[in-house]
Symmetry: C2
Subunit: 319 residues, 2 copies
Amino acid sequence: MSEQVKKVAVVGTGVIGNGWIARFLAHGYDVIATDPADGAEERMRKALDHAWSYVEELGLAEGASKERLTFEQNLSKAVADADFIQENVPEVEELKQKVLQDIDKYAPAEALIGSSTSGIMPSELQENLHHPERFVVAHPFHPVYILPLVEVVAGKYTTKENVDKARMFYEGLNMKALLVRHEIEGHIADRLIEAIWRESLHIVNEGIATTEEVDQAFTYGAGLRYAQYGPFLTFHLAGGEGGMRHMLKQFGPALKKPWTKLEAPELTDELYNRVVSGCEDQAGELSMSELDQNRNEFLVRLLDLVKDYWPEAQDKAKQ
Amino acid sequence: MSEQVKKVAVVGTGVIGNGWIARFLAHGYDVIATDPADGAEERMRKALDHAWSYVEELGLAEGASKERLTFEQNLSKAVADADFIQENVPEVEELKQKVLQDIDKYAPAEALIGSSTSGIMPSELQENLHHPERFVVAHPFHPVYILPLVEVVAGKYTTKENVDKARMFYEGLNMKALLVRHEIEGHIADRLIEAIWRESLHIVNEGIATTEEVDQAFTYGAGLRYAQYGPFLTFHLAGGEGGMRHMLKQFGPALKKPWTKLEAPELTDELYNRVVSGCEDQAGELSMSELDQNRNEFLVRLLDLVKDYWPEAQDKAKQ
């Protein structure tokens, strides 16, 4: 738990906002939430009840309690004495800018502001703030109270000190606070998710497969691997002893093939070297065979775990 | 185990071929392998030793034994009395066609042939065979002896009876034999993998992030979810009570944004309906809240499992 932050305000209590509330409470913070929608408080409390057994299982901080949550319809009051404000209003740039200006106006000048935006760049969101230096994008993943990733992106007015403070705050929530060093639409994670999503839509749109077939084609193969290693390390390992060097030799030419609607970049020597040395750096002290053994051990255990949780198994169990 | 298949021939003993060998042996088949490369037999036996402890942990069929593997340098002899032949030579179309013609020539006329090709369409591979009706694409995922998915694709000359036989054979290997109903480059799974891969390469190519940062951005968030649910069901759930309908309302406009280099299809009423009804069909008897609970329970257990297997943890454990 961060020493400087005692009270967190959550602005916008949809799926993501409610997910943050559960995570903040579980880590021992006082939380004050605000949302102008009818019935927002009731939905928020219901979502929290639903989430609580899972955050309990993951482990509560000392003093953590569901009772430390208040709802305040009025945004200006909600943020008035918060040390950290997490904004989660719908993904509409004008709306986000308006709400962020209100937060900026009513919150203490030194309070940090994190926006959960999926794809908007921080410099755009902070440009009309009086204190833009305390603003970061902090993009989490659903369900926020379970998944560890938060992408932290600074805008051009954000100070380094505040980025560091924000990252420490999120790390204190037992999260992986990944610093995204350059602003880009969709940050990093959503670009990858969006690429899968759009390719999937094309496949369904062209009548090649149903949504269920697409899901199965992903889940029962690559999806299992991605819980442990990302796209680069996965290909590094698929190359056998030769690693990424071998993969790029064998599948480099496939980058020119119409295997997806997405056109690949030219595999220049520079890109080749960057990818190969990147994978070798990532492997760190671990040899190929150690990475491979770890992958196998993990997958054997994962299969044993996941087999009862796949939709087919769940559906069958219910019948 | 299939009743009609006793002996399996494996042609090409690279990473994929060797993976198949371990899976076939573990399920109680006699296996004969062939590969013209120097040292292939030694590498194959080493790979099998490495794989064996994992297939043992997954469970061996009665009579399954590593001793039931023979290596035969000569392809014509290797396939001469096989009931099923799995081809895994490098992903070069001319080479695959040449090898498949040899298999077709020397194998019994009724033996089934499956090709592990990642992306080539079956009609192209079977067109010069004397018995094209017994040919299917059967595309597995690395490591083949652990991951359950195999995409089964018929070409235009493949008989329905043989597709069914092939699927039953693979299902007997404890695999998820997904019938890909239309031929398309990259089948289904590799199109999704390739979309992630190309987007990842763009990000590294443009200097936005390192390979490690891309991997982390994927693994610690979306990657965990994809072990259980595919891209469609994941978004269906992220929509909360409104499911995919809500998601498409909220994120449909984002399809026009430059969140990936991949251009999305137009979200027509027809596509909207297909995606929404597809997700609802997939959910089957399960309510949104049951799907959601299953997802949460799984993720909490997965986090507990995977935390020691992530590269950072492994690297730290070694130091």
